[in-house]
Each structure stands twice: as structure tokens, then as C-alpha cells.
Symmetry: C2
Subunit: 272 residues, 2 copies
């Protein structure tokens, strides 16, 4: 599943045809033979071979094994290291985060899953209101009590969820869900919606919404959230925040070279 | 400096022309304007613009700032993550390491700089002799006493060298160099040669030679070495090992998406 728009097949340039061949390599399909690739890309075999030869000469693909199948080549590693040096993850996301805060009038924040802890990476404030949710002192976001935590937890492997739910779950406010069964139900709900919501589960006067973020292998690697004062969260504002989150989540996923899983992309289109 | 051969300019396909534009982005030149890029690539501005537009549509480059300069785009991150998942660093190097051991008849090994320690990553044995240098129990390679260590140390920033040389340097054998002044002289020698050598500095009967390895930003990230029994190290064997190391070092650098600094590439061509 690709998150970026594909060129129009009819008027596609030779360069785009070659570059789009690279998109057929995925986590579940890392090796592709010439015939299969030609069929996938709807090209005749001779054209496909010619494009692959140019990609191979430049290290973008390489052939391996007795079947001479193609896989991605080492050049992409070199380019990625240069891109990362030029545009570190955090800086890449900042303009999107700032626009999200400005558009919603509330605090936007990004968190990344590091080992088994969800760490705040960056945040942006809106100047729309004198009161706002602040994050300076937050060292980690509890999975069970925040919308970011639930958004991430819902898209982790079962083993990860089991470990989190087996730990003591702190009652942070009167509405924090702390029963494993109740959290299981929340997780299922988040999976079905494609986003998570927390009404005062972390701090009683904060209402937050979050979407999961995905890496290049389609694994959920963090969350993007908007945290608002509960008193300002009208139904219209909820819709506005949800819509802005889905857009910004797609943008950051793309900026980070991630891939939105096909089912999430479908959900987000339906919800937005 | 590129380590892979460039296509012949005269018969270069459109795809290669576009892909080779990406090579002009380096650590020291991360942003390039259209006019500069056209001049660097020896293309007319209209052609260069057309190629860049196709690269941009596919996320390989993006334009930023008021100058609308180009930089590498997020797609390379996604492709690199897929490549790394399919061909992890260690596995990518194994065939080269095995060929190096077989060709030299001695033990070949790879080490990576992790924080401030040089850790063995992989090794390959030759079946040419009943006696060989083994590495199973080696947890780290001391910078001052091994050819790998010296090869890496010689290409680190001055601050790194200063810290290493200020630590207590263990006398492992009668020939281990432990004086900071003596090691400074060795480092200068390694920089001038482009490879390092240790005659019994780690274990008295082991003679090893090593070349530094470089990452995509041209930073020395590890070393590739051949460790032989000192008694087998004739002058002809030294030459053979040196030649094989320079070749294998270039291959692994490319496989890992690294970039050989221009001065090292020149040295290696002269020495080989």
C-alpha cells in the first residue's frame, strides 16, 4: 500500500516507470522475478528488463540467487543516511506538528515507541487560548491512560499487549480504565476506528485524540496526538481534530518514509 | 566520491540520468538549486528540471525554502528500511568475508564501532590450514593493540583519539605499543597508508592487517581485517592479503551503502 499518489499511467515518464518498480518491493514481497515484476507493473518484459537494468547499474536493485530475482540494492542505504543527516526525524515532523496545533487551537504532540516505553518526541502549542495542555515534564505516556498509548497499543503484536496489560495499571484519574478486560475492549475499538480517544484518563480536565504512526515496514512506531482542555471539546471540535489528525498522521508517516497499512488507510479515508 | 562505476555519459539512459542526479547530494552539499545541479550534471536546465520533477513526484527529492532548492526526499528512507530488513548488515557482508578468508587462507573478520568500543561483528575461517586465528571469545578489539583498532582510530575525530590514548593502555604482548606518543606515530602512519598492520601486538603469534570501513556520510564505522599466524606471513602473503583487503573493504562499503572518502579511494588505488 502506497500513501503517495501514483502518476497517471498513460502519461508516465520513463523515470517514473522505473522508480515505481521499486514500490513493488515490500516486506512481504522482498524478492521479485522479472516476469512477476513485469506483470505487477503492467509492462512488457523487455521494457521491464531495460528499466531494471538501469536501476541495477545504479545500485537501486540487485539480482540474487539461482533464480536471478531482484531485490532492493545498497544505494538506498546511502541515500537514506544522507536524508536522515539532512532532515532528522524530529525536525521533519515539526512543521506538521505546528500546523496541527495552529489549526486545532490545541496542543499537538508526537511520541515514539522506544523499546517498551512511549516517549514524547516533540510538541507544538497553539496561541489560540491562554490555557493549554503542556508537556514539558512528561517523560513517558502510559499506554492504558492516554490516547497516544492506546493508539500505539492497539497496533502492537499480541505479546506486547499481554505484557502491558499484565503490569500494574495506575489509576491516574477517576476515569482511568485500569481493568485488563476494559482495556481489551478499548483496544478493539481503536483498531476498528483507526484512532484513539481519552476523556480525562490521564489528567481529569484533558481530552485527547491520537492516531498511530507507522514505519517503513508498516509497524506502529509511535503516535500523533492533540490534547485539548476537556471544557473546549465540543462535538464540532472533535470532528475538526479528528480530521486534522488523520491528515497530519498521513503526512508525518510519509515524511518519515513510513507506510500506512492498507486497512488503516481505508479506515482513515472512511473516517475523515 | 562514488565507489560504483558511472554509466557511460554518451549512451546513458534517461533513468540513469535521473538516478545519477541523486549522487550530487552529499553530506557537504545537501541542498542544490536547479541551475547548480544542471551544471554539475552537465545537463541543460530544461532536461534537468524534467528529471527532477519525476524524482520529486516519486518522493526521491523535494524542494524546500524560499530558494526552492532540492534535497533528498522521504522515499529513500522507506526503501532503505525495506533493504535493511531483507539484507541485514551482517548477512550482506558474509559472502565477502568468506571469500576473503578463502582467498587469503587466513581468518577474516569484521568489527563495528559501537559507541566507544570496537566490537567483532562477524568472522570467517579458511580451511587452508589446521592452525588458525580464532575469534569466538573476543568481546572487543582494543584500539591500541589490534590492526582493526588502529585502522578505526586513525580515522576518528581528534577528540575520540585523545580519549582513547588517555586511558590506561594494556601491555598485552611484548610488542604492544602502549605509549601515547608511539601510538600517535602509528596513527599518522595508518592515515598515510590507508590500512593498518599489527605484528603480535594483541597475541604474540598473530600478524594482522586491517582496512577502515566507512558509512554513507564518509565516517569510519568499523574495520575489516585478516588475522594470520605470524609464522605464515611472508612478504608475498602480506601483499596478497593487502590487495584482497582493499578489494573486500571497497565491496563491503558499497554493500552497506557507505561512501569511501576521496583520499582513501586514491590511497587504496595506489597501494593495491
Amino acid at each position: 500500500m502506497n500513501t503517495r499518489p501514483r502518476s497517471n499511467g498513460r502519461n508516465m515518464g520513463t523515470v517514473s516507470k522505473a522508480l515505481e518498480l521499486l514500490d513493488y518491493f515490500t516486506k512481504s514481497r522482498p524478492l521479485i522475478g522479472l516476469s512477476d515484476l513485469a506483470r505487477l507493473a503492467d509492462l512488457n518484459k523487455a521494457t521491464c528488463f531495460r528499466l531494471l537494468t538501469e536501476l541495477a547499474e545504479n545500485g537501486f536493485v540487485e539480482q540474487i540467487g539461482t533464480g536471478r530475482e531482484y531485490r532492493l540494492g545498497p544505494t538506498v542505504l546511502r541515500l537514506a543516511a544522507l536524508r536522515e543527516a539532512q532532515v532528522p526525524t524530529r525536525e521533519a515532523a515539526m512543521p506538521v506538528l505546528q500546523a496541527l496545533a495552529q489549526h486545532t487551537g490545541e496542543t499537538a504532540h508526537l511520541s515514539l515507541l522506544m523499546a517498551d516505553v512511549l516517549r514524547p518526541l516533540a510538541h507544538a502549542y497553539s496561541s489560540a487560548h491562554a490555557t493549554k495542555v503542556t508537556l514539558e515534564d512528561t517523560e513517558s505516556l502510559p499506554f492504558h491512560a492516554t490516547s497516544s498509548g492506546l493508539a500505539v497499543l492497539a497496533f502492537q503484536p499480541e505479546a506486547f499487549c499481554r505484557v502491558v496489560l499484565a503490569q500494574p495499571l495506575t489509576q491516574l484519574t477517576s476515569t482511568t480504565e485500569t481493568s485488563p478486560a476494559g482495556l481489551r475492549a478499548r483496544i478493539i475499538e481503536v483498531r476498528g476506528l483507526g484512532y484513539a480517544e481519552s476523556r480525562g484518563g490521564y489528567e481529569s480536565d484533558v481530552h485527547s485524540m491520537a492516531v498511530p504512526l507507522f514505519d517503513a515496514l508498516g509497524r506502529c512506531s509511535g503516535a500523533l496526538a492533540v490534547a485539548a482542555l476537556g471544557s473546549r471539546m465540543s462535538e464540532a471540535q472533535r470532528r475538526l481534530i479528528r480530521h486534522a489528525l488523520l491528515q497530519a498522521g498521513t503526512e508525518i508517516t510519509t515524511l518519515w518514509g513510513g507506510t500506512l497499512p492498507a486497512d488503516i488507510a481505508t479506515l482513515w479515508r472512511l473516517v475523515a
